[in-house]
């Protein structure tokens, strides 16, 4: 391959303009996908992202608290709980905030939290949980 086959820009001003154009496009795509709050036109995405981040944190705290409680071994009998613990406490996907999978991960976490809260709130055991102010807050916030 000859040297001329390589991309060898010589015009720095054009290079700067190209860089600016590509960066602008990336900023736009990120804001549209909700990967980052930076950039114009991202206010809705930013709110959504903040909500999802909060849901994920609440889920992690909730699962951790359940696992470390005296009822932890009892909860672990259930495969679903072990999955949640594995996914969010033991090996959480502490991802780069700009990772392309970040949004999908957060949405999955929100869905898991809703399912967990619904499940905890039904049946006679739900009344016990509701004695706890923190549980009532979570229910109010997400259900």
């Amino acid at each position: 391959m000859s040297e001329n086959d390589f991309y060898t820009p010589t015009d720095l001003e054009r290079l700067r303009m190209e860089n600016e154009l590509l960066s602008f496009e990336v900023r736009f795509l990120r804001s549209r996908l909700g990967w980052s709050g930076r950039g114009p036109g991202s206010s809705v995405s930013l709110n959504r992202l903040a909500h999802l981040e909060e849901a994920e944190q609440d889920l992690v705290l909730l699962v951790r608290r359940m696992a470390s409680s005296p009822l932890g071994p009892f909860f672990r009998i259930k495969g679903e709980f072990r999955t949640l613990e594995e996914r969010y406490v033991l090996s959480p996907e502490t991802q780069d905030p700009y990772s392309p999978n970040r949004l999908a991960y957060l949405e999955e976490a929100e869905k898991d939290l809703l399912l967990l809260l619904r499940r905890m709130g039904t049946g006679p055991i739900g009344r016990l949980f509701r004695l706890k102010r923190e549980f009532r807050t979570l229910e109010q916030r997400y259900l």
Binding site: P9, R16, M17, L21
Partner: protein
């Protein structure tokens, strides 16, 4: 200011004669013309011949393997000669998907049957300028007529301006100079051949048409879609709209271009833009206002005026759409561009619209012949409450 060239300067035309190869070979096509029979279109041979071709003329539509054209071969402008003696329903059934739907603004249809042309033009939204009217002779005579036309187009004087660049005067004179003889040379790049311009058009079309569709949105059948193109040229983007449901209006600084656009798309409405750049339209009259490679040819004061006007005539909720070169330099007084980076342009746009817009789409474009990303699309929607209901 003007210059002429010969047909071989821009590459040679390739004639696919198929079953008529004997007759076409006997016709008086000049040297340098390539004539193919139906054995010459096996992939390897076709690829060899298509390299450096300026135009592919298909005289035997029934036997040409269109599916064998791939990659850059599709950027070679096509001229397809309609087979005589078949009605349009038959032609549409046989060639609709494989050929007609794929024809682009830089492709043309040659036929002696004006009724068939009119019917197909309406069905596929072609421009009147894509038609080549043939006599009633056979394929050999058709080949000769098409050759003569290509030769005349190559020999037609083109336009490069006469020195320093002044946007309004240059585009007005250039449009008027090219409108009669070679209107297709007035769009994209006048310095390059039709295959270069078809390739540019292909990239632009792939990026623009989804934006046109997004701007049209889901509207009821009886609600017309009002569209304004600024710098409409010969009206090539009108072909991207269903003109039965769209009220397409185009303005251009060149009277010649406006006349060519009217001839190309009689269903549209086209008007001359006066030197003060004020649009002859009421406030809030259009759902989509767009320009393609117009802004970067104008100095900043003209850009401001055009942006303000585009903003004025767009309806609240409507869209403004721009396809421009954001990576370009100005090397001399003769250069026809006023460079603007994307952020400089966005700054002007926000200023002209008083920040009353939301960003809908950003997309960079790289043309096949470029080593850098050059173009970009920016779409914004207009915020606000309509002045009248």
């Amino acid at each position: 200011m003007g210059s002429t060239s010969t047909i071989t300067d821009a590459g040679r035309p390739v004639f696919y004669a198929g079953r008529f190869a004997d007759r076409v070979s006997d016709a008086s096509l000049p040297e340098g013309c390539v004539v193919l029979d139906d054995w010459d279109v096996l992939p390897a041979r076709l690829a060899d011949v298509m390299e450096g071709a300026s135009t592919l003329v298909v005289l035997d539509l029934f036997s040409f393997p269109f599916e064998a054209l791939s990659g850059v071969q599709r950027d070679v402008p096509l001229i397809v000669a309609l087979p005589a003696g078949f009605d349009t329903d038959f032609l549409t059934t046989v060639f609709g998907k494989a050929v007609f739907e794929r024809l682009d603004f830089f492709d043309r249809v040659a036929t002696a049957d004006s009724g068939a042309w009119m019917s197909l033009r309406r069905r596929y939204g072609w421009a009147e300028g894509q038609s080549i009217r043939l006599g009633n002779g056979g394929p050999d005579e058709a080949a000769g007529e098409i050759w003569a036309l290509l030769e005349a187009e190559s020999a037609a004087p083109t336009f490069f301006g006469d020195g320093s660049y002044e946007a309004a005067r240059y585009w007005s004179e250039r449009g008027d100079a090219l409108a009669e003889s070679v209107p297709h040379r007035a769009i994209c790049s006048v310095r390059h051949g039709p295959d270069f311009n078809k390739a540019m058009h292909r990239v632009q079309k792939a990026a623009l048409e989804p934006q046109f569709a997004a701007a049209g949105g889901a509207r009821a059948e009886d609600v017309p879609f009002d569209v304004l193109e600024v710098g409409v040229g010969i009206g090539r983007w009108a072909a991207s709209f269903d003109l039965a449901k769209t009220r397409f209006f185009g303005v251009d600084i060149s009277e010649g271009m406006v006349a060519a656009a009217r001839a190309n798309f009689p269903e549209g409405r086209f008007d001359r833009l006066e030197p003060d750049l004020r649009f002859p339209c009421d406030d809030e009259s259009f759902d989509l206002v767009f320009s393609v490679t117009v802004m970067h040819h104008n100095p900043t004061p003209a850009k401001r005026t055009l942006l303000s006007e585009m903003w004025r005539v767009a309806r609240p909720g409507g869209r403004l759409l721009f396809l421009e070169d954001f990576v370009v330099g100005r090397w001399s007084e003769k250069s026809t561009v006023y460079p603007m980076s994307v952020l400089e342009f966005v700054g002007l746009l926000l200023e002209a619209t008083n920040w009353q817009v939301t960003l809908e789409h950003v997309e960079s474009l790289r043309y096949p012949h470029d080593d850098m990303t050059r173009g970009g699309i920016i779409a914004v929607s207009k915020l606000g409450v309509p002045k009248r209901w």
